[in-house]
Structure formats: structure tokens, C-alpha cells
């Protein structure tokens, strides 16, 4: 990876990250911290996620990226002893304390997981529309329409249009992951959270999903956790760098455009990471 240290830009990091207007912000984090049974796992997360852009969370393992991501759709509610503090806003509404239920939140903020996890007892079609069905939508014509649309957006339609009723287990790993993406997209979420979506896939499947994201972001805001910094450099517009501190809690070191993070970071630790000085 070529690194161009650009001397010509004299503007500071604050100028680089243009002040976003409220309508351009999908999610906003302020002093967000997550702890388990009193022990902090990640803290000091403050940044704004721009709409229709790809924001990546990068950093070595243990830096709390996934933990932070899972706070964004309140998945930690399922873990006893987990506590999320700070403010997380979705389109201006506090997702923990505001006028929004957990189930509504999760239909507006979707998630794709590290290992593909289609429902094993369901067909491809049933998997894609499962989110709609779970939420009470039954009209066949709408389900069919959404299924095709989501599968096309996930670049899977052509592979499966003739075998929609086949069990999802028959797909390859990369196809299963795209199925999971389609499943999440079917609910037309505003934000799509992706937790290391390609780390369990082979390079070709990885590439296909990366190509996907540049078209997907026109529909949804994407927040992606990745431990592969080259991937982050390839696909993301903004980047948050997290690092595990002395007390074994992750913290946000720097948030900026990807270009700035990789070419001219403000914090020396960010530079060390992007240069591969530690993993």
C-alpha cells in the first residue's frame, strides 16, 4: 500500500472533517462507553456518522470495535451485566433513552455478522424476507418485490433467482454472507452495521462484498468494523481508530476521513498502526 504523505494540505484535521449539518448525520455518538459487570471494555467514543457514507472502525484486536458496534443496535441488552453509557443518536433520537423501542431501532439499524448466519431451517427466499415476516408484513407481492430488490442489491439475485426455495445451507460462504446482507437490507434500514463481514470469507468473496459496499452506501449508511486496514482504506469514507489502553479498555484515538487517517493522521499511534508497526 502506497502511502503518500501529503505536504500540501496545511489545513488541520478539524477543517478536513467538514462540519456536517444535522441532516447529513445518520448516527451521532457522544462519550459512549460500554462496560461489562463494571469493567470498561470501550470508552470515549465521540464521532458523527455521515449519511450514505461508509464509516469504518479500525484498530488491533481487543480495542473494543465490535463492542462499540453492538451498542449501536442495542445488542448488549441481551447480555446481563452490560452497561452502555453516553449518548447515541439515530436521526436525533436517543436510542437508549429516547422515544424509540428496541424492536423499532433494530428495524432501522440492521446488522451483518462476522460469520454468515442464515437461518438453517429456512429457504433462501424465507431467509431474505424473514425480517419483514417477523415484523408482521405478510403481503406476498410486497415480499416478492422486496426479496428481489434486496437480492439484487446484494449482488446475489442472478445466482439464486431459480432456486429461491432451496435451503440456505446450500450456498457457499460468500453467497451466504450476501444472503445475510440481503436479509438485513430487506427491512430498508437507515444504517447497516457490519461486524468484520469478510473475515471468514475467501479473497474472491471478500472482493465481491467490498464492491457491493460502494453501491450499497447510496441506500444505507454503513458502519463497518474491520481488522484489515487495507480493506478500510479501500472502502471507507470516514475512519475511527480505536486502541486498547493501559487499563485494557478500548478508546477512540482518532476520527477523521479515511484519507487523512491513512495519509496524515494527527495521532502518532494512528500512524504506527497504519504503518503496520503493531497488529
Amino acid at each position: 500500500m502506497e502511502k503518500i504523505v501529503s505536504e500540501s494540505t496545511s489545513s488541520t484535521s478539524a477543517d478536513q472533517v467538514a462540519v456536517k449539518t444535522v441532516s447529513e448525520i445518520a448516527m451521532s455518538l457522544k462519550d459512549v462507553a460500554v462496560s461489562f459487570n463494571g469493567k470498561t471494555a470501550v470508552r470515549d467514543a465521540t464521532f458523527d456518522v455521515a449519511k450514505n457514507k461508509v464509516t469504518s472502525l479500525i484498530g488491533p484486536s481487543g480495542s473494543g470495535k465490535t463492542t462499540l458496534l453492538r451498542g449501536l443496535n442495542r445488542l448488549h441488552d441481551l447480555t446481563p451485566g452490560a452497561k452502555v453509557s453516553g449518548t447515541i443518536l439515530l436521526e436525533g433520537t436517543d436510542i437508549y433513552r429516547g422515544d424509540i423501542t428496541v424492536t423499532e431501532l433494530r428495524t432501522r439499524v440492521g446488522m451483518v455478522f462476522q460469520r454468515p448466519n442464515p437461518f438453517p431451517t429456512m429457504s433462501i427466499y424465507d431467509n431474505v424476507v424473514s425480517g419483514l415476516r417477523f415484523n408482521g408484513i405478510k403481503k406476498k407481492s410486497l415480499l416478492d418485490e422486496v426479496a428481489e430488490k434486496s437480492l439484487r442489491d446484494a449482488a446475489l439475485w442472478e445466482s439464486v433467482e431459480n432456486r429461491l426455495k432451496v435451503s440456505a445451507g446450500n450456498l457457499s460462504g460468500g453467497e451466504q454472507q450476501r444472503l445475510c446482507i440481503a436479509r438485513a437490507l430487506a427491512l430498508e434500514p437507515e444504517v447497516l452495521l457490519m461486524d468484520e463481514p469478510t473475515s471468514a470469507l475467501d479473497p474472491i468473496a471478500t472482493l465481491r462484498i467490498e464492491e457491493l459496499m460502494s453501491t450499497l452506501k447510496e441506500r444505507v449508511t454503513i458502519i463497518i468494523v474491520t481488522h484489515n486496514m487495507q480493506q478500510a482504506a479501500r472502502i471507507s469514507d470516514d475512519c475511527a481508530f480505536l486502541l486498547m489502553g493501559e487499563d485494557r479498555a478500548g478508546e477512540l484515538i482518532e476520527f477523521d476521513t479515511t484519507d487523512k487517517i491513512f495519509n496524515n493522521p494527527a495521532d502518532p499511534r494512528t500512524l504506527d498502526y497504519t504503518l503496520g508497526r503493531f497488529g
Binding site: 440492521g110 448466519n117 438453517p120 431451517t121 429456512m122 445451507g169
Partner: protein, 323 residues
């Protein structure tokens, strides 16, 4: 890619055989094989001896399977009431235990907080190890009097009571219903132990996926957990059924050991296993053959349920492995 060790052992054993005519590995291998053969022999003798002793009775197969009334000491030996009793008590016990047991397993996995869960699971497994005679004792000395005092009169007042339960006014201590209840309490821990394991074995990531799509907790259970665990749950059902049909002393104590076929639950009755236990003490000659024949019936029932259960459980394991 290395070969697995058993392959390694057999291969090296074969090599050793080639290398020396009487290698010392011989005695160990042949010891194991002959002991296992002895085990197989015992098992075959197990089935064989019961079948052989039952042979005289099969000349009256019709009476055995459909006849009502068991006349010691010389016959006719009608097995209908034992068969009916076995079916009634086991089915009722199974339905109750499966419904309550499933709800309990779901509660253990989805409602009970983490630390308590381990304690409860251990407790359930200990309960499954309690000898059946103790359940029978409790049913006979505690439950039966209580039922006589409070439950039966209440049930007799319900509409349709006479059709299912027997004519109102009749009060027996021991009854088929009591046996069914005792059986259900007995197989509950077994059913819960297995179904809890199957439910907890549903991979966490598809559970998280369904929550992430906006499911409520019950939806996660109904739409994702139960369908995934379905096969294993059926396995638990058949295993519990196998156990229920084979229970001897508990049923013998509380069902009343009466051999006239009737369907009314508040009347005494018997089951195959219970009847063998009750009558065997004084049986001679032909009656022994007839009892052995009942034993063959029991064997067939139990082996089939056991087989079905095992194939279901292994299918469940394979299905989950693919995910």
C-alpha cells in the same frame, strides 16, 4: 493432513501383524475383542431367553393382544388391559411432561439468570437420577390420598367427567390417572435435561441475527430456536416415551394392578411392565410364558422408540454441524 489416531492404530496393528507371527500386541487386541464378543453374547442371550420362554404363549396371539381379563393360573391370558393401560398412562404422561417440560426448558434458557441456570440444570439432572421406586412411593403414599380427598371430587364435577374419568361417585385410590401423573413427574427431569441441552445448543449467532431483525423474545423462540431444535426435541420426546412405557414399580404401586380393560382414567388398571412385576411372584408354567410374551411386547415397543429417538438425535447433531 494427518490420519486420525484410530486409523493409525489399526494400520500399525496391521503392520505389526505382517512383521511378526506372534507379536505381543496380539493378546491385548484379542482380549478386547473376546470381551466385547462376550458382551454381545450376553445381549443376544438377553433377547433370546425372553423370546424362547415366551414361545408357548404365542399360539394364543389373538387372546394375548386383544383379550380382556387375565385368569391365573391356566388362562386365558388377555393382554388388552395391559396394552391399553400402557398406552393411556404413557401418552398422558408424555403430553403433560412435554408441554410443561418444554416451557420449563425455555424458561431455564431464556428467563433464568446465568448463575442460577447452572444450579437448576444440575438439580434437574440429579432429579432424573432418583430411583423410580421413590416416585412410586410418593405417588402411593402422598399423592393418592390427596387426590382422593381433593382432586377426584373436583374432577368428577366437570362436564364429560363420566365419559373420560368414570362415573361420578366412584372413588378409587389407585387409578390410571394417578399413574399417568406420577409418570409425568418422573419423566419431566429426563425430558427437561435433554430438551434444555438441545435448546441451549442452538447457535448463538442465529439468535442474535433474529434479534437484530427486530424480533421479540417469543418470536426468536418460535421462529428460530424451536424450528432449529425441533428434531432434537422429538428425540427427547421419544426417549421419554421409551422410559415411560418401561416404568414398572411406580405404576404397579399406584395404578392398582387390575386387569380388566377399560378406558376410564379414575379406575384402577395396569401396564405391561407393572403387570409382569405384580403377577410374576406366583406364576407357573403357562402363565410364565404369557408374562414373557408381554415382556417381548414391551421389548418391541421400547426398542422401536429407542431407535427412533437415537436416529433423531444424531440427525439433529448433523443438521447443526452444517451451519
Amino acid at each position: 493432513m494427518t490420519m486420525s489416531s484410530p486409523d493409525l492404530i489399526i494400520q500399525s496393528e496391521e503392520l505389526a501383524e505382517v512383521n511378526s507371527a506372534s507379536s505381543s500386541r496380539g493378546w491385548y487386541h484379542w482380549l478386547l475383542v473376546s470381551v466385547s464378543a462376550l458382551f454381545a453374547l450376553v445381549s443376544i442371550a438377553f433377547v433370546g431367553s425372553i423370546v424362547i420362554y415366551s414361545l408357548p404363549a404365542w399360539s394364543h396371539t389373538g387372546t394375548l393382544l386383544t383379550g380382556n381379563g387375565w385368569q391365573s393360573p391356566s388362562g386365558p391370558f388377555g393382554g388388552l388391559s395391559m396394552i391399553v393401560g400402557t398406552i393411556e398412562t404413557s401418552l398422558i404422561a408424555l403430553v403433560v411432561a412435554a408441554v410443561v417440560g418444554l416451557g420449563t426448558s425455555l424458561a431455564i434458557v431464556f428467563l433464568v439468570p446465568g448463575r442460577l441456570r447452572n444450579i437448576i440444570s444440575t438439580f434437574v439432572e440429579l432429579l432424573a437420577a432418583i430411583p423410580s421406586i421413590v416416585y412410586g412411593l410418593w405417588g402411593f403414599l402422598v399423592l393418592a390420598p390427596w387426590m382422593l380427598k381433593s382432586f377426584d371430587p373436583f374432577v368428577n364435577k366437570l362436564p364429560f367427567a363420566s365419559a373420560i374419568f368414570g362415573s361420578p361417585g366412584q372413588q378409587f385410590g389407585p387409578s390410571l390417572l394417578l399413574a399417568a401423573i406420577v409418570l409425568s413427574v418422573m419423566i419431566l427431569p429426563t425430558f427437561i435435561a435433554i430438551s434444555r441441552e438441545v435448546i441451549a445448543g442452538v447457535p448463538n449467532d442465529i439468535i442474535e441475527a433474529s434479534y437484530s431483525l427486530g424480533c421479540t423474545r417469543w418470536q426468536v423462540i418460535r421462529q428460530v430456536v424451536l424450528p432449529t431444535a425441533k428434531i432434537g426435541l422429538f428425540g427427547a420426546t421419544f426417549l421419554s416415551l421409551a422410559r415411560a412405557t418401561g416404568e414398572t414399580v411406580a405404576v404397579a404401586l399406584v395404578a392398582g394392578s387390575v386387569a380388566n380393560a377399560q378406558f376410564h382414567l379414575l379406575y384402577p388398571g395396569t401396564s405391561i411392565a407393572a403387570w409382569i412385576a405384580t403377577e410374576f411372584g406366583e406364576a407357573q408354567g403357562n402363565e410364565i410364558s404369557a408374562l414373557m410374551a408381554l415382556g417381548v411386547l414391551l421389548m418391541l415397543i421400547n426398542f422401536s422408540f429407542s431407535l427412533i429417538s437415537r436416529s433423531l438425535v444424531s440427525r439433529q447433531r448433523k443438521a447443526l454441524a452444517r451451519v
